[in-house]
């Protein structure tokens, strides 16, 4: 039941956060193991979905701080994230895929807590109050982190575009 409901969400967050498919699979297993061991500590007053994602977020950020994945590169974007839109012209599609590749690699340059906040908001599409509950922070702090993260990614994209024009 838990596996059916939450495995996809947790695995995807882990993959987007770590950038490594293999690492994300291992982390998902570890998170579920931790989840089974912590179920007795669940406070029924709290939102169960947010509680599980908080547990996953804490585990991912803790592991990141211990092992410093930022030294490793992320999986090649083409490995798992390439999509195609039949209603788009090949040129537009090429630009969009290029942007996605730059942003995918750019995620590695964000500090762990900002990266997690951006993933929850812009990739997972969660609401600000949900993210605030998961991250255990006020909504104002969440908005300012998202702001900083997006600006950093936009600047990375801008730089790449300028280089592309120079060529």
């Amino acid at each position: 039941m838990l596996v059916n409901t939450y495995s996809k969400n947790i695995f995807n967050i882990a993959y987007q956060f770590t950038g490594s498919y293999q690492e994300a699979e291992d982390m998902t297993q570890d998170i579920f193991l931790k989840l089974y061991n912590s179920l007795s500590k669940y406070d029924f007053q709290k939102n169960f979905n947010a509680w599980i994602l908080t547990l996953a977020k804490n585990y991912l950020i803790d592991q990141y701080r211990k092992t410093k994945w930022e030294k490793k590169s992320r999986d090649d974007y083409k490995d798992h994230l390439l999509t195609s839109d039949e209603f788009m012209s090949p040129e537009d599609e090429l630009v969009k895929e290029e942007n996605k590749k730059i942003i995918w690699e750019g995620l590695n340059k964000l500090p762990s807590d900002i990266r997690m906040t951006i993933i929850l908001r812009d990739i997972q599409g969660k609401k600000y109050d949900e993210i605030a509950e998961i991250m255990s922070l006020p909504v104002g702090t969440i908005k300012s982190r998202i702001n900083r993260g997006r600006l950093q990614l936009a600047k990375i994209l801008n730089d790449k575009k300028e280089k592309r024009h120079e060529l």
């Binding site: 699979e25 297993q29 997006r150 936009a154």
Partner: protein, 165 residues
Amino acid sequence: MNCEKIQELLSPYIEDELSEERKQEVEKHLQGCASCRMLLVSLKEAREAMGAFPQLEVSERLMSQLYALPHRKKRFKFSFDFLLRPSLQPILAAATIILTLISFYFFNPNKAQIDKSINRQIHLGYSEIERLYAKAETLATNIGEYKNNILVSLLNLNPFGETEE
């Protein structure tokens, strides 16, 4: 407002979270600033790119491993991961220094001389302690004598002016 201030407002601007007044300030700035306009375009593209990341399906292999988890008994698993904790780093650094000093001592070709010098230091320490001990004894004897003198003086005092018969 300068570019830096405007850039901070771009994210709430695209999410339509600014007051009408602020929104107009941003738009006015954007009309005259090409670099902020470009950044706004990139910001929108970055958001769009992230929104288009596909949500991957969990592999069958991982699913079966996840289903098997509750049946897996908690086993005692020893791992050296704890050694990587940042909080342990000062302790590990201190331990390294101590081990290096110890190895210097044990593998030094002049070990006999080091031993002799350590012995000498220990003996010097001992004799210093003995000297202090002797001083303390002298002090205790002196205090005893002073005490007796004071007692004798007090006994010889004649507070009521009585005459000796």
